[in-house]
């Protein structure tokens, strides 16, 4: 018996590793992050169902739309954020090869992951409250700071592998495992840039709650807020999955259940590193953040690219 390929693709998009898997795993990662940071701070931390309870509660709450805001934009932006993140997930190799993979899908994923940030900016901007506006300006400032180092750090492995295809880059690193060690600086640059993209400590400047209340989400409540939080959680899965695919060789040539287990283990390790960064550091100012990204991360990733080009010539 053969299964209809369209049905198979629908299952891929909606259930695994598409929407439902991303939701469940994103909520799990949120809990994992909170629990690990609680343990590091010597406290008990939230129970395992915490992220789920938060989302259900927000979904069941009243949605308030302020009079002053741009109603249509205000309502549709959370769905755009979720749609962009889920689409990016379809291009990543998660348990086997990606659903669609082509030359240049690395660039597509990077730009799809920029869309949630742009929706955060527009969300703050269209709520027109002063705190939300300041928060959204900070979102954009931060975007210009971390986006370039992130892209540069992902270009290094692409040059070394000689391809713009995420699955082929992963295949290259699976075949030549020692080269992963040569990518450690770019790996850390990508981790820090991902921390900025996810707006976590030390780069949670856009929604720094003791400075500007709730940042870009100040006016959001109920269902719309729940979808934004869900988009951030999913972005964590996709960001960790992207770093896993580019730097750690994705599934390491396996497929099926073993591939999924390897994916889960490696993304958990990446999220653990992100949590460690979050717990170790306090929030920096926006100018310090921009300076850090442009004076340390960007030159470091450019040096990595240079090194990769030389290594590539050496290999022939």
């Amino acid at each position: 018996m053969t299964i209809d390929p369209i049905l198979l693709a629908l299952i891929y998009i909606l259930i695994f590793p598409g929407f439902i898997f991303l939701t469940v795993y994103g909520l799990f990662l949120q809990w994992f992050d909170r629990k690990i940071s609680a343990v590091m701070q010597n406290r008990v931390g939230p129970p395992w169902y915490q992220a789920l309870a938060d989302i259900i509660k927000l979904l069941s709450k009243e949605v308030i739309i302020p009079d002053a805001c741009d109603t249509v934009m205000f309502k549709i932006l959370p769905y755009f954020a979720i749609a962009a993140v889920v689409t990016a997930a379809l291009l990543l190799p998660i348990w086997t090869d990606a659903l669609c993979s082509f030359q240049g899908d690395l660039v597509v994923v990077i730009y799809l992951l920029t869309i949630p940030t742009v929706t955060f900016f527009l969300a703050g901007w269209s709520s027109t409250s002063p705190y939300a506006t300041i928060g959204s300006m900070r979102v954009l400032t931060q975007l210009f700071a971390y986006e370039v180092p992130m892209m540069l750090s992902l270009i290094g492995p692409a040059i070394l592998a000689g391809t713009w295809n995420i699955s082929e880059i992963a295949g290259f690193f699976t075949a030549h495992k020692p080269y992963m060690l040569a990518q450690i600086p770019a790996f850390f640059v990508a981790l820090m840039a991902l921390q900025g993209k996810l707006e976590r400590v030390p780069f949670d400047i856009p929604h720094a709650k003791n400075e500007i209340v709730g940042g870009q989400f100040t006016e959001y409540s109920g269902r719309l807020l729940a979808f934004f939080y869900l988009a951030v959680d999913m972005e964590m899965v996709v960001g960790a999955g992207l770093i896993n695919a580019i730097f750690l060789g994705a599934t390491l040539g396996t497929a099926g259940i073993l591939g999924a287990v390897i994916f889960l283990a490696k993304t958990l390790a990446i999220v653990f590193l992100l949590t460690l960064t979050k717990v170790l550091m306090g929030r920096v100012r926006i100018d310090q953040m921009v300076r850090f990204c442009w004076q340390i991360l960007a030159p470091l990733s450019m040096a990595q690219i240079l090194f990769d080009i030389f290594l590539k010539f050496r290999l022939g």
């Binding site: 909170r34 406290r43 409540s221």
Partner: protein, 146 residues
């Protein structure tokens, strides 16, 4: 009760998000509210998180005797919170005016301005009392819906 309502009630009980409001308190109770959120008492194990905007909050944790200056502000903040919402009056002043009762500049008690769900007396309240109050509020919410 339908299963959908049960799930929603469960999620409400497990995820109370707090908003802290100082209505002219001497800061004693505010320090104790902050105390309750520190690692030692760890309110996050009940799912409580301190939020800073009324739009995200479920429980307004208010302290102080409510000065006349603050009355219209707390009303506005209360109205900005999405339903369902609850108010915790923390400290003797918030419950009845405390030592400021009858003073020309205060209205003596938060319940004169907005409906209060639970009163937590003490001057200042102990963090354990705040935790106990939060648990009792959730318990009452659960009991009232049965």
């Amino acid at each position: 009760m339908k299963i959908k309502d049960k799930i929603i009630l469960w999620s409400r009980l497990k995820s109370p998000w707090l908003l802290h409001f100082n209505g002219g308190a001497c800061n004693g109770c505010d320090i104790e509210i902050v105390d309750a959120l520190t690692p030692k008492y760890d309110l996050e194990r009940f799912g409580a998180v301190l939020k800073s905007t009324p739009r995200h909050a479920d429980i307004l944790v208010a302290s102080g005797p409510m000065t006349r200056q603050q009355v219209k502000r707390i009303k506005r903040i209360y109205e900005q919170m999405p339903e369902p919402k609850f108010v915790m009056a923390v400290g003797a002043c918030a419950c009845s005016g405390g030592v400021f009762d009858g003073c020309y500049s205060v209205v003596s008690g938060i319940d004169k301005v907005i409906p209060v769900s639970i009163y937590i007396p003490g001057c200042p309240v102990r963090p354990e009392a705040i935790l106990d109050g939060a648990v009792k509020l959730l318990g009452a919410l659960e009991a009232s819906s049965k």
